[in-house]
């Protein structure tokens, strides 16, 4: 359902929920996940209902994900990079009381 205009190009990998995602230079995390067919990025902190990319320009804060352990980051405003570990954002942020 999603494809690239340029059939070939340099690629690199990161993971989403442990699954390998292939990205290209210039991709935001949101773009690479969209290209991989992943639309369900988090649970609403209010109702728990799923949310995904909406505006792709940093306005709506719907594409929040956890990146390398840091919660609530905008997937559309964060460049994809090799080796990142991205996870779905579930509910309120867990803060470890050390």
């Amino acid at each position: 359902m999603v494809r690239r205009i340029e059939p070939d190009g340099e690629t690199f990998e990161f993971t989403f929920e442990g699954r390998t995602i292939v990205a290209r230079p210039g991709d935001s995390i949101a773009a690479a996940l969209t290209a991989a067919g992943i639309v369900n990025l988090r649970d609403s902190v209010v109702s728990g209902r799923p949310r995904g990319v909406f505006c792709m320009m940093g306005s709506c804060f719907d594409c929040l994900v956890e990146i390398d352990g840091v919660p609530n980051r905008q997937a559309c405003m964060t460049a994809a990079a090799s080796g990142l570990e991205v996870r779905r954002q579930r509910g309120g942020v867990e803060v470890q009381a050390s």
Partner: protein
């Protein structure tokens, strides 16, 4: 603390043109932009898009390259990835860049933060798979990613542009579901002769629509009662058109109802704003050259009122020249000719504004429809708060948490004001808007804590 003569915020056509001209005029100019490369949303990634992608996006997109190149060649400093999160009354800008915050003190500020899509709350619009039409376009521009079998719903030139670009990319959308009320076509006819004076727009629009229709894309006109179905993601769009109920299965549904000025910074600065009845949106009160009601704060481009990319670039340069003119510098002849050119370009606006004014149902969602996506506040709850006597959006915000989520009311603000205005029987201008407070976007508490306020002498 660093300081400069002119700080420009936003690297779309207006900001780039303003910064380029200001630097050429000898002003110490800094441009701050949140994106990784210049161009704004309209010319997003225009420097790196290859030939194939540029072909799909079209000549209007390719034109952005020259604007970006001119900026790169200018003496303006460029701070990419810079999130402006607060501005003080004496024009000290707090911004976050690379995980740390710092300050820039500016003698003048040109706000060039462009437009955002007009919110269109409808049942199911929070489901994954539902995006703005702009989002589909950004995916194409920035990553060459094409959504196949999308359904585009709503109204406005961008709806047809994205449809045409998808056709050119070999992925024609499954359908274009247009909400433009039939009556708007009749009303817009009166504006047609004036619109023909603006060079090229109407012919271009007509060619776009023809391309989409020739590609076999289904087109529904006058659609109403739109809703999106799906459990954990969008699966279909329902609507009525010509008296018939329609349902189209789709996993990608892109919504569009035109664009409105992005008010976050001008509201933060407490610039005066007015309701623009023609454009059906708030905009900061400015003079022709972009001077706002706040001393030394200017607004250039779509943020001052929707005029489109060409107009924005002209306006950016006009603002820089107008500032110079106040200082007894610059190029009065060029300023005059740019103003005239911008006025000619604007001749198409009344036609577009009449034709693509949002249908009444766009700004009056049903009671059970979520309006504030962050806090999941429904239209019905907002109406109830008004019944309780809430005099405006700020009381509604404090009663219901509408606009208190991470997006800070960016998405819901215009509709919340519209719903309250309708209930109170007044214009949104009389109702007012959310008060915008820092940080403009969430920043880590650790970053704020480490952000010391240096009173050291200027090092720039």
């Amino acid at each position: 603390m660093k300081s400069c003569d002119i700080a420009v915020i936003g690297a779309g056509p207006a900001g780039l043109a303003a910064a380029t001209r200001a630097a050429d005029l000898g002003y110490d100019t800094v441009l701050l932009d949140e994106q990784p490369s210049p161009g704004g949303q309209i010319y997003r990634a225009v420097e790196t898009a290859d030939h194939a992608r540029t072909e799909v996006m079209g000549a209007d997109y390719a034109r952005g390259r020259a604007i970006v190149d001119a900026f790169r060649a200018s003496g303006a400093a460029y701070m990419d990835g810079a999130l402006v999160w607060n501005i003080s009354t004496d024009r000290v800008i707090d911004f976050s860049r690379g995980g740390a915050s710092s300050q820039l003190s500016a003698k003048r500020i040109i706000v060039a933060t462009g437009a955002v899509e007009r919110p269109w709350p409808l049942p199911g619009w929070t489901l994954p798979g539902v995006t703005t039409a702009g989002a589909l376009q950004i995916l194409m521009k920035a990553s060459g990613i094409v959504q196949e079998d999308a359904v585009l719903a709503g109204s406005g030139p961008l709806l047809w542009l994205v449809a045409a670009q998808l056709v050119d990319a070999g992925a024609p959308p499954r359908a274009v579901v247009e909400t433009t009320p039939r009556a708007h076509y009749r009303a817009a006819l009166a504006q047609l002769p004036a619109a023909l004076r603006a060079p090229g727009y109407l012919a271009k629009g007509w060619r776009m629509m023809r391309k989409v229709k020739r590609a076999g894309v289904r087109h529904f006109a006058g659609a109403e009662n739109i809703a999106i179905e799906g459990a954990d993601a969008a699966s279909a769009i329902r609507f009525t058109a010509k008296g018939a109920s329609e349902r189209i299965e789709a996993s990608s549904i892109a919504l569009h109802q035109g664009v409105v000025p992005n008010q976050q910074i001008t509201r933060l600065l407490r610039c005066d704003h007015a309701w623009d009845a023609a454009q059906q949106c708030f905009r900061p009160v400015t003079d022709e050259d972009g001077q706002s009601s706040v001393q030394e704060v200017y607004v250039a481009g779509d943020g001052a009122g929707i005029g489109g990319a060409l107009s924005a670039a002209l306006h950016g340069e006009i603002t820089a020249l107008a500032i110079a003119a106040r200082d007894g510098r610059g190029d009065p002849a060029r300023l005059k000719s740019l103003r005239a050119e911008r006025a000619r370009d604007a001749a198409v606006r009344p036609f577009l504004e009449t034709l693509y004014a949002p249908a009444p149902h766009v700004t009056a969602p049903a009671d059970d429809t979520i309006v504030c996506r962050c806090e999941e506040v429904t239209a019905g709850a907002i109406r109830e708060a008004v019944n309780l006597g809430a005099p405006g959006p700020n009381q509604v915000k404090s009663f219901l948490r509408a606009g208190m989520g991470p997006c800070q009311g960016r998405v819901c603000g215009p509709v919340v004001s519209a719903i309250i205005a309708e209930r109170r029987g007044e214009t949104p201008g009389a109702t007012g808007y959310y008060r915008i407070r820092p940080p403009l976007k969430p920043i880590p508490l650790s970053e704020l804590a480490q952000f010391t306020i240096p009173d050291a002498p200027e090092d720039r």
